[in-house]
Structure formats: structure tokens, C-alpha cells
């Protein structure tokens, strides 16, 4: 089926589209202010060591990538943007639950088989694209993972924000410096996800970009599930 003969389907509810693009902006602001905050102590571990192994020890990120101008400015951006980040995240999750759309998104054990088939297809070990619903099993895995990552970003953030009042949470992540470490690494997983996500949109299913903007989808994978 070519794109021109494909039926048009309503794909993304306005809540999904709003929270998707809002998260792009808010997360960019969170990362940029986070990189400015990082500069104040660009390593992980108590003073005097031992330090966690990190590629970015002592690194200063380029000026264009930082937001806030100085530590206080960056903290104020970071703690202000944290509100819409959590609010949009909860709105999105609430929508998934209420609409039942979580079923099309959540990676479950029964998706393992399909994920293997998809991997074979991408590795050219299988000729035809396996049949799929709204998302293929690898997409489900990626989207489930990135939602979990968002939750981890918030939780590690709280662990760093209130290590005394929320000591149980900080301890859960291995202590204050470990929580900082994970909070920082989550950034790079987000960045990696985003790069792959954008590449795949343009390489595999460009119609999905329009769907995320207007809600209407007219492309290769029109089915709902």
C-alpha cells in the first residue's frame, strides 16, 4: 500500500500531541539548565573521592547548550520547569489509562516474540515487514522504556533535591552522589532516544510526523489496536 492510497485515520488525541510537543520544549529546558547546574561540580562522589567513573569528569558544556547563565539562574529554571514536566507527564499517563491506549503502547512479555521478528527484519534476516498494530513491538519497547525513564528522571531528581527529607528515596538510588550520577546519565539516554526517534520517523514513517502535529495519519501503518 502506498502512502497516497492509504486511508486517513485519526491517530493521536490532542492530549497526546500537546503533551508530546510540550515535553520536547520543557525537557530541552530541563537538560539545558541541568548542564549549567552540572558545571558547578562536574564530577560524582564526595569531596576527596572516591569518584564514580564518568566520561564527563570536569567537562564544561558549550555555551549554547546551557540555560540560566549561572548556578542560581539555572536552578530557578530547573525547579520551575520541573512543574510542567511532571504535569504534562501525569496528564499523558492519565490519558493513556483512561482511554485504554496504554494497551497499544505497553511492552508486555507476549511482545517478545514480535520484537525478535522486527529485529530480524531490521537486520535483513527477514524479507517482509511483520504485521503490526499501531506500533510494532520494538516501538512498544522503546516507548515503554522512555516513559519509565521519565519517571526515573523525576524520582532521581527528588532524591537529589531533598536527600534528608526523602532519605529513603536517596538511599534507594545508592545515596546523594549516586542519585546525581543516575540523574545525569538519564539525560544521555533521553538524548540517544530522541536522536533514534527522529531518524526513524524520517527514515521509516514520515507520515507519523504529520500525525503528531494534526492528529491525522495517512501512511504505511494505518491500523489501530
Amino acid at each position: 500500500m502506498t502512502a497516497t492510497s492509504a486511508p486517513t485515520v485519526r491517530r493521536h488525541h490532542w492530549i497526546v500531541r500537546l503533551t508530546h510537543w510540550a515535553t520536547v520544549i520543557v525537557l530541552a529546558g530541563m537538560i539545558a539548565s541541568g548542564l549549567q547546574i552540572y558545571e558547578a561540580y562536574a564530577r560524582f562522589g564526595n569531596r576527596g573521592g572516591p569518584y564514580f567513573v564518568s566520561l564527563f569528569d570536569g567537562a564544561q558544556f558549550p555555551h549554547w547548550s546551557r540555560l540560566g547563565g549561572w548556578l542560581a539562574g539555572a536552578l530557578n529554571w530547573h525547579f520551575a520547569l520541573a512543574w510542567p514536566l511532571v504535569a504534562f507527564g501525569l496528564l499523558y499517563l492519565g490519558y493513556l489509562v483512561r482511554s485504554g491506549e496504554w494497551r497499544a503502547l505497553l511492552f508486555r512479555p507476549r511482545d517478545v516474540r514480535g520484537a525478535i521478528e522486527m529485529t530480524k527484519y531490521y537486520l535483513h534476516l527477514r524479507r517482509e515487514h511483520p504485521p503490526q498494530g499501531k506500533h510494532n513491538p520494538l516501538q512498544k519497547l522503546a516507548y515503554t522504556g522512555v516513559i519509565g525513564l521519565g519517571a526515573l528522571a523525576v524520582l532521581t531528581g527528588f532524591a537529589v533535591y531533598k536527600p534528608t527529607q526523602l532519605a529513603w528515596l536517596t538511599t534507594l538510588f545508592g545515596g546523594f552522589q549516586a542519585a546525581r550520577y543516575w540523574h545525569f546519565w538519564i539525560v544521555w539516554i533521553f538524548v540517544g532516544f530522541t536522536i533514534m526517534h527522529v531518524i526513524l520517523v524520517f527514515a521509516v514513517d514520515p507520515a507519523s510526523l504529520r500525525a503528531m502535529l494534526t492528529g491525522s495519519y495517512r501512511g504505511r501503518f494505518p491500523s489501530h489496536d
Binding site: 500531541r17 539545558a32 564526595n46 569531596r47 540555560l67 539562574g73 530557578n76 520551575a80 534528608t164
Partner: protein
């Protein structure tokens, strides 16, 4: 499938245009504002908004996330960090000309203002602990502190009902901090005259500094000269420049 979709598409259409325009405009201006703000603290346009949200976060930290009884984790002295950085805003280490003449002035909205010498303070109840110090910059270090709980001072001076804050003032240029009463009364909030089993070193605020594992380092006023009970929220050296006022952890 097509039958099911046609009506859905219809009702989406009537509201979709406005929503789309609204969302596009909102996101566009948000992105523009963010881009314009890159590299700075929000400028005159955004900064007041960010500071207002910071006050909301202070409120959340003080009223929702702060427990007056929860104690910070303590460590054995053997876990002390090799180093604890120190800083002061004066050009050189602030030192008293005549240490014997030093007094801590306790005044403001209190029934019994006091002037306390170091000996007076040392005769009062003593608390010592080994805790982790958290700096707003992101570093941490473990050290031991000993001194008199602020609550013991409060008991002696008997603040009036109107007193809700304490302003801690130093002789390190104009360094000062404002505290909420609940944090000041925390059992681990002390006026420390000792560190790592020794008298408080000059670099760390001798003769007396505020210490508490419930606050970030910049809230812990060193080189104390006075504590004043107030009904208005006192500012502080870093707080007035944009750092969070509550600074609780």
C-alpha cells in the same frame, strides 16, 4: 474500520482547527522564549516569574516536604571526608580583632534579649554529630560538628508569638541568612563552635557558625555575630541574588 472513523473525524474537525492553532502558537512562543533566554537567567522579562515559582517551591519545601522531627542520617567519625571546602565572601579569612570581646547578640521579638560569650554557649546543652554536608553546587562531604542547639537558645530568650523567622548575621562582610522558625528549632540545628573534635577553624566560621544537615551549605551562616527574631522574612546574601530562600534538603 472506515465506518467507525468517519464520525470521529467529524467532531475532531470542528474543534481541531482552534486547538491546532492554539497549540502551535503556544509551543512556538514557548520555544522562542526559551531560545531567547538561552545562556541567561531569564532577564527582566522572565526572571521575576522564575523567582515567584521559586517562592512556591520554598513553600512546598517548608510546608509539605519538611519534617520537624525527621533526623538526618549520621555517620561514624571514621567516614569523615578527607576535605571539606570552605569559603567566605571577604577578601581574606574573616578574623576577630579581639576574640575575648566577642559576644553573640540574640534580640528582636523576644522576651529576654541576651548577649552570650563563647563560654556561656559552651555551658549550655551540647549536641555533636557526624553528617553529610550538601552544597548547592552539588558536592557533598562528611564532617563532625558540635555546638549548642538553636532550640536551647530559643528557650532562654522566649520569642514572642509574632516571631516567625530568625535573621542570622555574620562579620564576613554583609553575609547573612534568614531562617524559618521550624528549621531553626530542628534538633540537629546547632550553633557550632567545634568541627571534627577541634575548635571551629577560622576558615569554617570561627568562633561560631550555624550548622544543620537539613539545609544546603549556603544557609549555614558562619562568623556569627547576632540572631534576630522577626515577623518578616529576612533576606540573605545569596538568597537576595536568586538562590532559593528555603534551601532545605
Amino acid at each position: 474500520m472506515t465506518e467507525r472513523q468517519t464520525p470521529r473525524r467529524q467532531d475532531a474537525k470542528t474543534q481541531g482547527i482552534d486547538r491546532r492553532a492554539f497549540v502551535t502558537l503556544g509551543l512556538g512562543s514557548g520555544a522562542a522564549a526559551l531560545l531567547a533566554a538561552c545562556g541567561w537567567d531569564g532577564g527582566t522579562l522572565v526572571r521575576p516569574g522564575l523567582w515567584s515559582i521559586s517562592r512556591v517551591n520554598d513553600w512546598v519545601g517548608e510546608k509539605l516536604l519538611y519534617s520537624p522531627t525527621r533526623l538526618a542520617r549520621t555517620y561514624p567519625p571514621s567516614e569523615r571526608s578527607a576535605a571539606l571546602p570552605s569559603y567566605f565572601i571577604s577578601r581574606t579569612v574573616p578574623m576577630l580583632g579581639d576574640p575575648a570581646a566577642w559576644r553573640l547578640r540574640v534580640d528582636g521579638l523576644v522576651a529576654q534579649p541576651l548577649e552570650l560569650s563563647l563560654d556561656d554557649l559552651m555551658r549550655m546543652p551540647r549536641v555533636s554529630y557526624t553528617v553529610k554536608h550538601h552544597c548547592v553546587e552539588g558536592w557533598s562531604a562528611i564532617a563532625s560538628w558540635h555546638g549548642v542547639p538553636v532550640s536551647a537558645i530559643v528557650e532562654q530568650v522566649r520569642p514572642t508569638k509574632a516571631a516567625r523567622y530568625i535573621s542570622f548575621v555574620s562579620f564576613d562582610a554583609d553575609y547573612a541568612n534568614g531562617w524559618d522558625m521550624a528549621s531553626a528549632l530542628h534538633p540537629q540545628t546547632i550553633l557550632a563552635y567545634g568541627m571534627n573534635d577541634n575548635p571551629l577553624p577560622a576558615a569554617h566560621g570561627a568562633p561560631l557558625r550555624l550548622y544543620s544537615p537539613t539545609k544546603l551549605g549556603y544557609k549555614l551562616t558562619k562568623y556569627l555575630v547576632s540572631m534576630t527574631f522577626m515577623d518578616q522574612r529576612p533576606g540573605g546574601y545569596w538568597e537576595d541574588q536568586g538562590y532559593p530562600w528555603f534551601g532545605g534538603i
